[in-house]
């Protein structure tokens, strides 16, 4: 197809850019310069690209005098003051505090460190890295203590990966769609570039007993948060993380060192890690025995869920935005899988009746946010936008009907999106757009 060619020159192209129902265009439409010009000629889409006439241009106020002084820490434009996390417990009452990432206001794949989601159960500990120690003990040949200055001398690896709370997207279990922003629905997931020491390097040094199966990482935070983690994961890709997006970890992300288990339930990525005990059995700690055991419709519950399964959602357009006029929009979203790499993302503009393949930002990385895009020409009639991701292991994001059949939904609608706490939702998210361009959360 001619429109696939990036170097198409100025020739007439784009015979038919429609890729699926309701105005979804081919994922590569408009990527090339030639195509822009082809569009300007009105070929293919039948819509003129020229809008209302522009005003004459003048120098703006801010262009005419000296700007503010540069400081030691970069600051955002004051016009971005609303790009903030939503807090569940801003006053810090004695309960868990959540801060949710505003995906609807962000793009790209890295979540800025200060907008990375976090959950803290009893505040942020103020840890002096010169006094922090990590001990590895239990079923090992030789228990050992590592100070931070020693740990900093170890060989390090750098990788991108998402961290997602096991309870992210919990409001999606509601039997009726919860009218809430993307941030409230899916804000407990973020993606960073992390740098640190492979845990396997240290396990090699302490000498793990071959009979050991589990490890019990524990934090130096007030509740001494601890989880049971299969040693298999430790040998596979666990990292003791020291840096986030190039700088030392944010205090609320576990400074000076946290455990990173790529693709696994956020709570297991123990922050402020000070102790790892090697054992032959899980500890059945509070967070695994109670909190992160999702209840099923027949009152049984899953335990050891661990993996955040393949998932995607459209970030723009999404709830709370409105489309001002019919015409061209780019649909954009995030896909990720705790089992591997995003292979494909399908998008629908008609609630799943027809699908088109989105362009996936490459190279897609293992267990990391992967941005997808697809152009869309809205004709002004009602539409339902949704996305569905597939990973390289062949895992497909489940349709809601199939998901709910197994996992259930609430008996009454969820009224507080920050209050409901079931876990591990990875089905679809649908945005219903009415003729006025208003966007609601719908089930399709």
């Amino acid at each position: 197809m001619a429109i696939l060619k990036r170097r198409g020159g100025l020739g007439p192209t784009a015979p038919d850019q429609q890729a699926a129902g309701n105005g979804l265009l081919h994922r590569r439409a408009l990527l090339g310069r030639g195509l822009m010009l082809a569009g300007a000629a009105g070929v293919g889409t039948g819509t003129s690209l020229s809008g209302a006439a522009a005003e004459p241009l003048e120098d703006a106020e801010w262009s005419r005098h000296q700007g503010t002084t540069v400081g030691p820490i970069g600051v955002r434009s004051k016009f971005e003051k609303d790009t903030v996390r939503v807090l569940s417990n801003p006053k810090g009452e004695p309960r868990t505090q959540h801060a949710r990432t505003p995906h609807q206001l962000l793009s790209g794949q890295i979540t800025p460190s200060h907008l990375h989601f976090t959950i803290l159960h009893n505040g942020i500990p103020d840890i002096d890295p010169n006094q922090h120690k990590l001990v590895i003990h239990g079923m090992v040949k030789q228990p050992m203590v590592f100070t931070m200055d020693k740990l900093m001398r170890y060989p390090m690896v750098t990788r991108q990966t998402f961290v997602e709370c096991g309870g992210n997207s919990a409001p999606m279990f509601s039997n009726e769609p919860v009218q809430a922003s993307l941030q409230l629905l899916h804000g407990l997931a973020s993606n960073s570039e992390w740098t640190g020491v492979l845990l396997s390097t240290l396990l090699d040094e302490v000498g793990v007993d071959p009979k050991a199966v589990w490890m019990l990482p524990e934090g130096a935070d007030t509740p001494a948060l601890t989880r049971s983690v299969p040693l298999k994961k430790a040998w596979d890709d666990a990292i003791l993380v020291l840096y986030q997006n190039g700088e030392r970890l944010m205090a609320e992300q576990g400074y000076p060192v946290r455990l990173l288990l790529p693709g696994w339930e956020g709570n297991m990525n123990v922050k402020y890690v000070r102790r790892i005990k090697i054992t032959d059995q899980p500890a059945m700690t509070y967070y695994e025995a109670r909190n992160y055991s999702p209840v099923l419709p027949d009152y049984k519950a899953y335990k050891f869920y661990f993996v955040n399964e393949v998932k995607s959602f459209i970030t723009s357009p999404s709830f709370g935005m409105s489309l001002k006029e019919p015409g061209y929009y780019e649909i954009s979203g995030i896909a990720y899988s705790g089992s591997g790499t995003i292979k494909r993302v399908m998008v629908s503009a008609d609630g799943g009746n027809s699908w088109a393949e989105a362009a996936v930002q490459g190279p897609a990385q293992d267990k990391a946010f992967t941005r997808f895009h697809i152009p869309w020409r809205w004709d002004g009639s009602p539409a339902v936008l949704t996305s569905r991701a597939v990973d390289d292991g062949g895992n497909i994001q489940p349709l809601r009907a199939d998901f709910v059949k197994v996992r259930g939904e609430t008996l009454k609608p969820v009224t507080n999106p920050m209050g409901f706490a079931n876990q591990h939702y990875n089905s679809l998210t649908c945005w219903g757009i009415n003729a006025k361009g208003e966007i609601a959360h719908v089930y399709a």
Binding site: P155, E205, R275, A283, S293, V295, A301, K303, T410
Partner: protein, 187 residues
């Protein structure tokens, strides 16, 4: 003067003592020689941090407690401020409940009585994280008594039962067998 034999013996000893801990190029990650910068420490020096209780009772400390003592401690230590009078719930969840899980679907309250699968989790979590404003200030005996108070209140043990390292792991939790391992192949 060193012979070849003494040299290799010395090398054997120095590597052997650390159990090949600090040398060699056989790391799984292919990053080369081990830095070996960890400081050996005996388990006895880790005791203050080693607070994890395993479901079979491993690491439960000496001492014992009863529900009667626990009931007093529940008020003295301020547990009621969050968990309500008689542990029936306040701004934080109830610890002692009557109602059954059934009827609430996936929104069911994960109560100690009807959801928790291991009695040892109670000991581990109370000692580790409670009271919320001052965790790890309870004595081991006090923790046993608070555990006994909660278990007896939920009618999971006799109200006069003594909880200690032997009796606690034997407490039968009704929901114990209702859990499904989600991804067995990951363990």
């Amino acid at each position: 003067m060193f012979t070849l034999k003494t040299l290799s013996l010395a090398a054997f000893v120095s590597i052997g003592v650390a159990g090949a801990l600090a040398a060699g190029n056989d790391t799984k990650n292919g990053l080369g020689a081990r830095p070996g910068l960890g400081a050996p420490i005996p388990e006895s020096d880790i005791k203050a941090w080693d607070i994890t209780i395993l479901p079979d009772g491993t690491n439960l400390p000496p001492g014992s407690g009863t529900a009667a003592v626990g009931a007093k401690l529940y008020v003295e230590k301020g547990c009621d401020q969050c968990h309500g009078d008689n542990a029936k719930g306040g701004r934080n969840p109830a610890l002692i409940t009557e109602e059954k899980m059934q009827g609430q679907g996936i929104e069911t309250n994960k109560t100690i009585k009807d959801f928790w699968a291991y009695s040892t989790t109670l000991y581990d979590y109370i000692r580790r994280a409670m009271p919320w404003p001052a965790p790890r200030t309870l004595s081991d005996e006090e923790v046993y008594s608070l555990v006994a108070y909660i278990l007896a209140g939920n009618k999971l043990i006799d109200e006069n039962a003594v909880m200690d390292a032997k009796t606690l792991p034997q407490v039968k939790m009704p929901n114990h067998d209702n859990f499904i391992v989600r991804f067995p192949e990951r363990i």
